[in-house]
């Protein structure tokens, strides 16, 4: 029924497809959206850009019918509409791809699409028909999807495509993707970008919610920036610079490429000699890894994820034992490194998987900040915690590391990703470690929090600390490292000095070594 009014030409119903006019949404104690006006044209890709907590999600929840605006109106194709429930949004042709996919793992692609299709169950149960139409849709939009594949067998990128097909099957005209690259590898993102461009060419409107500038410049036609619940502005991407957008998003200049004093490497702090690791399945994960880091030096480990970086970090943190090889921290050769010994030897770790290894979400911020200090006499005597000292210490960390919380008793769960990471950084760096192991330290952080972490790493370096930085973000490696180690298939494929390291040389090592080993 809706197809009848769906115009083939984007212009036939005026320029705009969607207009959210003067949207205000208040939650107790805060205004999440204030007088937000947001417009999306037919056939355009529009980025909704902003830091965590800027109000992007709230705005999209209102559009999706999950939340209701206190003030303002929503117009679609020039007609005012009321969206009270997600179902209303669906019927108006609005579709969401959530960051966490809404798919049944044990079912096939066709079955999932049928489940999400509109109409009576009886009509949807004709799987052959669903499969047919699904295949046609996928072909038309260049979406490679096998209708008979089981979801659990699909990669993350493929699952995302299934979500998109689900929306197309429902005749969605506006597709909203929430942080689409959070789970994708670089290659998968290129593929997705192609798909989205194709959809836009067919007259669909696409909104991507993001805090990453790269995505915006990759595919967005226009970009609306939110900050603190208000619209800072809407710009045509082609006419904007990275610097403009960052300033709009953060509200000030952000310096990710801080000019740094030249490295003054001192004594060797970390020495890794001939480390091998074979996992439980007998596969070789690390092979003859050699590495040394001096004080005042940042060594970046670059490489596509899954080439042994995680395992190397686990070994240095003491969470895993190498099959063979030697690790020295300072002058001490550590036979069987465990997390306690690593910490005692002066190692601080920012683990890669924050929620699994770095924080306990159900405990308080104070608990999370002090978990590594239990052995210190200033915080505990005879096994009894000195409550006052603990609380003062936590308050100081909150102040010094700018952790934005109402108090130190909040559950870790209630903090934003950026604030959680600041808490981890505070806990690790406050003990003035000799060696910092930072694995993907800015993953999931917005640009403001990222700058903060960079500053902490640089300060650690200036104070003579050694740093091993593992990151899959090339920019991060290049901005922070004095030397760059490229890892491919569990081996060190090459080492570049800071001056030699460029995206080209590092990329060349990554691919060249991969080919040589293939």
């Amino acid at each position: 029924m809706r197809q009848a009014e769906a115009p083939e030409s984007p212009e036939s119903s005026g320029r705009g497809f969607l207009r959210m006019q003067g949207i205000t949404k208040r939650y107790p104690g805060v205004v999440a959206n204030e007088d937000v006006t947001f417009e999306v044209r037919s056939g355009e890709i529009h980025a909704l850009l902003g830091e965590n907590g800027a109000g992007k999600s709230t705005l999209m929840k209102i559009l999706d019918g999950v939340a209701q605006a206190d003030e303002g109106s929503i117009w679609i194709r020039g007609r005012q509409v009321a969206i009270r429930r997600p179902k209303d949004a669906q019927q108006l042709g609005i579709g969401m791809v959530h960051q966490h996919f809404m798919l049944v793992d044990d079912m096939t692609v066709t079955e999932n699409v049928a489940l999400a299709a509109p109409g009576r169950l009886a009509a949807r149960a004709d799987l052959a028909a669903v499969r047919d139409r699904l295949r046609r849709l996928a072909e038309r939009h260049g979406l490679a999807v096998d209708p008979d594949a089981r979801i659990s067998d699909l990669s993350v990128g493929e699952r995302q495509r299934v979500e998109i097909v689900k929306l197309l099957y429902r005749d969605a005209d506006l597709l909203v993707l929430d942080e689409p690259t959070a789970v994708l590898t670089g290659g998968e993102w290129q593929h997705l970008a192609t798909v989205l461009r194709e959809l836009a060419r067919h007259g669909k409107s696409v909104v991507i919610i993001t805090h990453k500038l790269g995505e915006v410049f990759d595919i967005a036609d226009r970009c609306t920036v939110l900050r603190g619940g208000r619209v800072v502005g809407t710009v045509t991407t082609a006419e904007a610079s990275v610097r403009d957008l960052v300033r709009m998003m953060v509200g000030r200049e952000v310096l990710l490429n801080v000019p740094r004093a030249a490295a003054e490497p001192g004594a060797v702090v970390l020495e890794v000699r001939g480390v091998h690791l074979r996992d439980d399945d007998g596969r070789t994960r690390l092979e003859d890894v050699n590495l040394s880091i001096r004080s005042g030096e940042v060594v970046g480990v670059a490489g596509v994820e899954g080439n042994g970086q995680t395992e190397l970090v686990d070994i240095l943190a003491g969470a895993r034992q190498p099959t063979r090889g030697e690790v020295r921290i300072g002058d001490v050769r550590i036979e069987r490194l465990d997390p306690r010994q690593a910490a005692a030897a002066g190692t601080a770790v920012i683990p890669e998987d924050r929620h699994r290894d770095a924080v306990a979400l159900s405990l308080s911020l104070a608990d999370n900040l002090t978990v590594k200090n239990l052995g210190e006499s200033r915080f505990a005597r005879w096994g009894i915690l000195r409550r006052q000292a603990v609380r003062e210490h936590c308050r100081r960390l909150v102040r010094e590391y700018d952790i934005r919380v109402p108090g130190i008793d909040v559950r870790m769960r209630q903090l934003s990703g950026g604030n959680q990471q600041k808490a981890v950084v505070a806990r690790e760096l406050d003990r003035a470690p000799r060696l910092l192991i930072a694995a993907q330290p800015t993953r999931g952080l917005d640009i403001g929090a990222m700058e903060f972490v960079y500053r902490c790493v640089n300060r650690h370096r200036e104070q003579g600390g050694a740093t091993l930085l593992v990151s899959s973000e090339m920019d991060e490696i290049l901005a922070l490292s004095d030397r760059v180690v490229v890892m491919v298939k569990g081996r060190v494929a090459g080492v570049l000095s800071g001056a030699e390291a460029t995206p080209e040389t590092v990329g060349h090592l990554m691919s060249g070594a991969a080919e040589a080993m293939a």
Binding site: V30, G53, A182, R340, R404, R413, Q414, G417, D446
Partner: protein
Amino acid sequence: MMSDRIRGLLIAWAVSIGAVVTALLASLVVVALAGSSPAEAAQALFDGAFGSTNRTAAMLAKAVPLTLAALGWVLAFSARRINVGLEGQILAGGAVAATIGLLVGGVPAALHLPLLVLGGIAGGALWAGIAAWLWVKRDVNEIIATLLLNLIMVQAVSWLVSGPLEEPTHTLGQTEPIAATARWPVLIPGTVLHWDLLLVPLLAVGLSFFLRGTTAGFRLRATGANPAFAAYSGIRTARVSALALVASGGIAGLAGASLIGATPQANMADNFSANYGFEGIVVALLARNSPLGCIPAAFLFASLKQGGGLLEARAGVPSGLVLVTQGLVIILVAGAGYLFERRRTRRVTAKAPSQPLPSEAPASDPTR
């Protein structure tokens, strides 16, 4: 934030109390449906528990093992270990205590009673220790291990009271009374209430402080909250968890010692625990795993247990009714708790950006 915490506590209390009241009212409806008088039944239930000094004392005496078992559960559960073997650990503790009470002789009470108490703790701890060892070394799920160890201990006690420790006539299937020097002294003369009642506030407050105010308690909570995080932070999680299980068994064993040394008959009979180990889990559930909350929760269940005795005689209602009430409490608390958790999560989600932060602060947004 503080007010948030207090509000959370108040809501938790309201949920528990509301569930209890609802369960009681619903039970009275059941009574009415069965054709008896709800008013009479309620009166009988109340009188059964509070009608006389004797009955109140008996109620309080029942609250002791209930509280201790509940505290045992809370201790293990703080490290997220599920100890469903409290019953077996009570029996084990009681068996060791009875053996000490029967076979050790000629020592003064100042030595004998502490021996009985320590023996009880050791027995419970040892029995839980088997499950802890299996969990650490053999990766055996502690739920299964503790549950099955119950069955073994039930048989072991049966064998003891009809074999090596049976009283001389070999007819009653129980032991002789233990030596007078090994018994808990009576608190209110002429009643069944003994001084072991003091253990209730002592251990509840002690456990509460242990979990919040000591490094060992911190390690326990961290291990329970996120084992991977705890390990990465240098906590020996396997050891902490195993010790939590053992200590949990020790508290249960202490309850076992009370069931031997703080009763009028002061002997060991077949199945002397009568389900305290499982009812203790329910008490902990009603208390939402708060050590101090275990006290009122245990008193409630002890009142039901004690008050049920008069139901049949006075109101013609089967005493099994109190089991219905108990069951309803469990379902209501679990259900209300579930709804409450869901509501609260949603509230936090909705409220998340509401922390009083500067506008450009990356406020929390748990929805992504």
